[in-house]
Amino acid sequence: MRTLRSAGVPDSAIPDMGVAAVARRRVVVRDCARHSIRRRRMTGRAMQVICLIAVLIGVTPLVALVIATVSKGAGALSIGFLLHAPTPEGGGISTAIVGSGEIVAYAVALAVPLGLFIALFLFERAGAIASSIRFSADVMSGVPSIIIGIFAYAVYVERFHHFSNVAAGFALGVLMLPIMVRANEEAMRTVSVDLWEAGISLGARRSRVARSVVLRGALPGVVTGNLLALARGVGETAPLLFTVASPTFAMTLLIFNDATQPFPDAQQTAWGTALVLLTLVLILSVTARTIAWTLNRKTR
């Protein structure tokens, strides 16, 4: 009773409910509203300005990054840059583009189905096992990516005695899995319980409801979540350090490798690769949003 006691009036006191008292209170409120309106409007405007400034501060580095990458990388771009394999004299980055694609394909093949089934399990079962899986997924999303790289090295490269894109895909898949699980589960939670109950009450099996109602309803969120996790994984470098046979087999490694060399040609290649990578990630993100938007639109 903070508000009440601090005013020094006993709690049980009944205020004057007479017509005159009501009229008096009404006048007081109206006066307060009118006298404070200028202050309230000024506060509102000030907050709007602060929001605008915050947006500008947040967007500036992003725009600067894109401008820098485009202006420094555009010079390296050519059809040959995309289609030719690297040579000691320069050449293109075709092996890196193909390699990155391969790695991502392996990662998707591992993480997307696993992520879906794990998320379904978390959605369907509320118990100790589910909550410990959820907890470990949360912890896993925070594991530094270099540690995942070392893990992949230990369980794959050491055992089979060679570096490969499969090992890199495994590392990326492990990295993306917890993000996908959590995104999928969140998307499934947006499907209302009413719909789930409607499905069950029609005599459908849980698995059928999971497929036709829950998964279908969550699809826009699932697609967006997976593609965004993918976009995040494509840009990772650390998990590939210990798993890929040569820096020329992955775009991020190529950037890392060439950018740290003293030769202007290598640095030019690094900027060009960065631009290609940035463009691909942008395409992925836009695709994710477009698909989600289209799926959402179909239900209206």
Binding site: T3, M17, R25, R26, R30, A33, R34
Partner: protein
């Protein structure tokens, strides 16, 4: 007649100019706000709300057309009719909620003699004179019961603790909720039952001592017992506050209202006001054949 902010804001080139303008507007409102919104007209206390040839459109869609209606002060006016015939749109035009939903209001809406859509009206100050209760109870979930009640006062710049306390308690008494919540004023509002939550929302609306209370199907989410309590409350409040009650329950309209306005869909699917008058007359001897069919339960 939509928003006039754009025109008036052009004149506000500098701060002092703006201050002078706000003062001007508040001075204009001062005359209006010190006394309840009433002007001579039918009914023992005159007329509180006047709608003259009001049409409301959302984009291309005309929701309701050519409504002319007077709501006698300190009486209950029920707006009845089937779904989609514009009752709620009319209600929301009175406190300018359409400013935020993209609805365009044409015609004249007056609170007392104040032109609601006049160029000098500040919507915030206008709304501080009009309470509103929605279909589903919507207490602020993060606030305690008592903080909910006094939130409108706080939003309007009332800071005096003693006054907040007095007006909050008065509002709880007015909403017949005091005895139920007096021992748990600082518990979260969501711990109340649905009917109690709705009465809390009424208390919240009453705390600013509104001259007009807009109620948009306030019982549609409640059970019969809770509904009966809200109806008792409406009867109790009439005589002090002008109430505009949207309902699709003809029995409720018959039980609690002094006047009825019947809305029906016209032939081109646009809402129309077909009959308005004292409740007894509209129900016993309706002038319009369509009204007769509707109130006797043959249609709708």
């Amino acid at each position: 007649m939509k928003r006039h902010d754009a025109n008036t804001d052009q004149n506000l080139s500098d701060a002092s100019n703006r201050r002078a303008h706000v003062d001007n507007r508040t001075a204009l409102l001062a005359r209006e706000t010190r006394t309840p919104a009433e002007r001579p007209g039918p009914g023992p206390y005159g007329t509180a709300v006047t709608l003259e040839d009001v049409s409301i459109t959302f984009g291309d869609h005309v929701a309701v057309r050519n409504v002319t209606l007077e709501m006698p002060a300190r009486q209950v006016t029920a707006l009845v009719g089937p779904s989609g015939c514009g009752k709620t749109s009319v209600l929301r035009a009175i406190n300018r909620l359409h400013d935020h939903t993209g609805g365009a209001v044409r015609g004249s809406v007056r609170l007392g003699s104040l032109e609601v859509y006049g160029p000098d009206v500040l919507p915030e100050v206008l709304r501080s004179r009009i309470g509103m209760v929605f279909q589903r109870p919507n207490p602020f979930p993060t606030m305690s019961i008592f903080d909910n009640v006094i939130s409108g006062l706080r939003f309007n710049g009332v800071r005096n603790k003693r006054l907040l306390r007095e007006m909050g308690i008065a509002a709880l008494h007015n909403a017949a909720l005091w005895d139920i919540v007096k021992d748990r004023l600082h518990q979260p509002a969501l711990r109340l039952s649905g009917g109690q939550q709705q009465r809390l929302c009424i208390a919240r609306a009453l705390a600013i001592e509104p001259e007009v209370l807009l109620m948009d199907e306030p019982c549609s989410a409640l059970d019969p017992v809770a509904t009966a309590k809200i109806e008792d409350l409406i009867r109790h409040l009439s005589g002090e506050v002008t109430i505009a009650l949207v309902t699709h329950n003809m029995f409720q309209a018959a039980r609690v209202s002094d006047n009825v306005a019947v809305f029906l869909l016209g032939e081109d699917r646009v809402g129309e006001l077909v009959e308005v008058g004292p409740t007894d007359q509209v129900f016993d001897t309706p002038n319009d054949a369509r009204t007769k069919a509707y109130v006797t339960g043959h249609v709708g």
